[in-house]
C-alpha cells in the first residue's frame, strides 16, 4: 500500500487572537500549507477540516465549505468533529482516501476560535465533550475530568503532583524556541507547584491554555508526489483510531486510556513498526497527566512508569525519548480543532530537520502523533516516517 506524503504544512501563531475569525485563522494556515507544498490548488480533491466548538464560539456551523472558500478551493469540504481529536480524525480520513485511490491531493486542517468567549464560556464549551447528563450536570469540567484521572493514577501507580510539574517545566522549556507557541516562558517546578489550583490536584500549570489558532497540511498520494517532483520526504505510514465509553465512570480503569492503546496498536501494525522504533512523539498533553497516560498507551513506557519519565529527564530534548518538542498543548497551546494537524506538522518538521528542536532527533526516522478527544473517548495515532 502506498503511503501518503506530507507535501506542505502551515500553522498560525497559537495564542490569544480574540478579534480574529476562524476563517481568517484557517486562511493563514491553509495558504501557507498550499504555498509550502508546491501543489496547484486546482489539483486539490477535498478539504478535510477539524473543528469542535464553532457553533458555541462563533455561532458558525457548516464550516467545511466556508474554510474551503477561505483558502480559494473549489473542492468538497467536510468537517470532522471528535472533540479535541477532530483534526486527527480529519488526518485519518484523508490518509484513508488517499490510500484507496479516491483522491490524490487532500488539504487537512483545523481551526478553533476560543478566547473571544472568555474562560468561563470556553470551559463550558469544552465540557460538552463529556456526557452532558451524567458528567456535566455533576459539575464536570475538563480540568476536573483529568484531575479525577490524575488522582486515580496516583492511587493505583504512585507518583505525585511534583512529577506532573516536571512535565510542565519540560514542555515550557521545549517551547522557548517555537515561535508558533502560545507560551514561550520558562517555569520552575516550584512555579508549577505554587500555581493556583484549578481542579485538585491539578493547578494552572498542569493545564494547557485556551487558544486561538489553525493548522493545515497538504497530503498527496505517493504517485502524485513523484509525478510532480514534490519535495515531500515524510510519509504517513500508519493510522489508527480507538474509541471508549464517553463517560469516565463507565470505564473499568480511570488511570488508563484504552482508546489510545487501540489506536496505537493499529497505527503501529499499519506502519509495520513497534514502540521501540519510535524516535520522537507529539502527544496530547492537554493536562500534564494526559502526557503520562499517552506515553503509556503508546507503549513508550510500561503502566505506572510514565509518571517519572519527565522527572528523570528521559522525555526532554536531551533524553532518550523526546516527547512534545513543540512545547505540547501545554505550552504551544491547544486550539482544539487544529491540534491534530499541528502535531502532524510538528513531526514532519522534526523529521525533515526544519523544526527549531530538530537537533534533538538528528537521526530520527520514526515519529508518532497522538491526538485525544474528550477524556480519551476518541483517539487517533499517526506514524510518520522518513521515506526518502
Amino acid at each position: 500500500m502506498s503511503d501518503p506524503r506530507v507535501a506542505g504544512a502551515g500553522v498560525t501563531k497559537f495564542g490569544k487572537h480574540p478579534e480574529r475569525t476562524g476563517r481568517d485563522l484557517f486562511a493563514e494556515a491553509g495558504l501557507e500549507a498550499l504555498d509550502d507544498s508546491g501543489v496547484d490548488p486546482d489539483d486539490v480533491d477535498s478539504l478535510y477540516y477539524g473543528n469542535f466548538m464553532g457553533e458555541l464560539a462563533e455561532h458558525q456551523g457548516h464550516q467545511g465549505p466556508l474554510m474551503a472558500e477561505a483558502i480559494g478551493l473549489d473542492a468538497p469540504a467536510t468537517r470532522f468533529e471528535a472533540a479535541c481529536a477532530s483534526a486527527g480524525a480529519a488526518v485519518r480520513g484523508a490518509v484513508q482516501a488517499l490510500r484507496n485511490g479516491e483522491a490524490d491531493v487532500i488539504v487537512v486542517g483545523g481551526a478553533e476560535r476560543m478566547t473571544n468567549i472568555g474562560t468561563a464560556a470556553a470551559t463550558d464549551a469544552l465540557a460538552i465533550a463529556a456526557d452532558d447528563l451524567y458528567e456535566v450536570r455533576a459539575g464536570m469540567t475538563f480540568p476536573g475530568a483529568y484531575a479525577l484521572m490524575a488522582r486515580s493514577y496516583f492511587d493505583q501507580y504512585g507518583g505525585s503532583h511534583e512529577d506532573l510539574a516536571h512535565i510542565a517545566v519540560k514542555n515550557h522549556e521545549h517551547a522557548l524556541v517555537n515561535d508558533h507557541a502560545q507560551i514561550q516562558k520558562e517555569i520552575t517546578v516550584e512555579d508549577a507547584l505554587e500555581a493556583p489550583t484549578i481542579a485538585s490536584p491539578l493547578g494552572l500549570y498542569d493545564s494547557c491554555p485556551i487558544t486561538d489558532g489553525a493548522a493545515a497540511a497538504v497530503l498527496t498520494s505517493e504517485s502524485y508526489a513523484e509525478a510532480h517532483d514534490l519535495d515531500a520526504p515524510i510519509a504517513v505510514t500508519g493510522t489508527g483510531q480507538g474509541g471508549d465509553n464517553l463517560a469516565l465512570h463507565d470505564r473499568p480503569h480511570l488511570a488508563q486510556t484504552p482508546a489510545a492503546d487501540k489506536a496505537a496498536a493499529e497505527a503501529y501494525a499499519d506502519a509495520g513498526v513497534g514502540a521501540d522504533d519510535v524516535d520522537v512523539a507529539e502527544v496530547h498533553d492537554c493536562f500534564t497527566i494526559a502526557e503520562v497516560l499517552a506515553i503509556e498507551s503508546l507503549g513508550l513506557y510500561e503502566r505506572g512508569e510514565g509518571i517519572a519519565a519527565a522527572t528523570n529527564g528521559e522525555t526532554d530534548r536531551h533524553g532518550e525519548m523526546p516527547v512534545n518538542l513543540s512545547g505540547g498543548l501545554k505550552a504551544k497551546g491547544h486550539p482544539v480543532g487544529a491540534t491534530g494537524v499541528a502535531q502532524l506538522a510538528t513531526i514532519t518538521w522534526l523529521l525533515d530537520g526544519s523544526h527549531p528542536r530538530a537537533d534533538a532527533v538528528t537521526d530520527g526516522t520514526v515519529g508518532v502523533a497522538h491526538n485525544a478527544g474528550g477524556t480519551v473517548a476518541s483517539t487517533t495515532v499517526h506514524v510518520l516516517e522518513v521515506a526518502e
Partner: protein, 128 residues
C-alpha cells in the same frame, strides 16, 4: 432553573433517586449501566432489566473544582467524585463534608440536590 422539556429517562431516574428508589440497568450478563440504555456496550445484550441501586457507594476518585462552568459559578468550590456502587459507577457532587475530608474509599449515599447557581437538579453524594 433551566426552562426546557425533561430529559426522559434521565429525569425519571432523578425522580426515582429522590423517592429513595434509585435504580440502574442490568443486562443479561450482569453488566450495569445508567439509563437510558437499549443495549449493553460490553456484551451487546438487549435484555436490560431495572435493578435497585445499592444503598451506598465508595468514592474511587474525586476533585475539588475551583474553576467551574458558568452554570456552577456560585457552587464553586465543590467536590466532584466518581463513586462505585457495585454494578455501576456514578459521577456526583459530594456535599455535607469538608472537601479536604473526602478521600478515596469514603462511603457515600446518593440523593438529589439542587445546583446553587441555577437551581437545576443534580446527583449529590453524602458521606455514610
Amino acid at each position: 432553573m433551566t426552562d426546557q422539556a425533561p430529559d426522559g429517562q434521565y429525569d425519571a431516574w432523578l425522580d426515582a433517586i429522590a423517592d429513595g428508589e434509585g435504580h440502574y440497568a442490568e443486562c443479561a450478563n450482569g453488566h450495569g449501566w445508567l439509563p437510558p440504555r437499549r443495549v449493553c456496550p460490553t456484551c451487546g445484550s438487549r435484555e436490560l432489566a431495572e435493578k435497585p441501586l445499592p444503598d451506598a457507594g465508595e468514592v474511587v476518585t474525586h476533585t475539588t473544582i475551583t474553576v467551574p462552568t458558568p452554570q456552577f459559578e456560585d457552587d464553586a468550590p465543590y467536590v466532584t467524585a466518581i463513586a462505585d456502587f457495585g454494578p455501576v459507577s456514578i459521577t456526583g457532587i459530594v456535599r455535607g463534608v469538608d472537601p479536604e475530608a473526602v478521600e478515596i474509599g469514603t462511603m457515600v449515599g446518593i440523593e438529589v440536590g439542587e445546583r446553587v447557581t441555577t437551581g437545576d437538579r443534580l446527583v449529590v453524594f453524602s458521606p455514610r
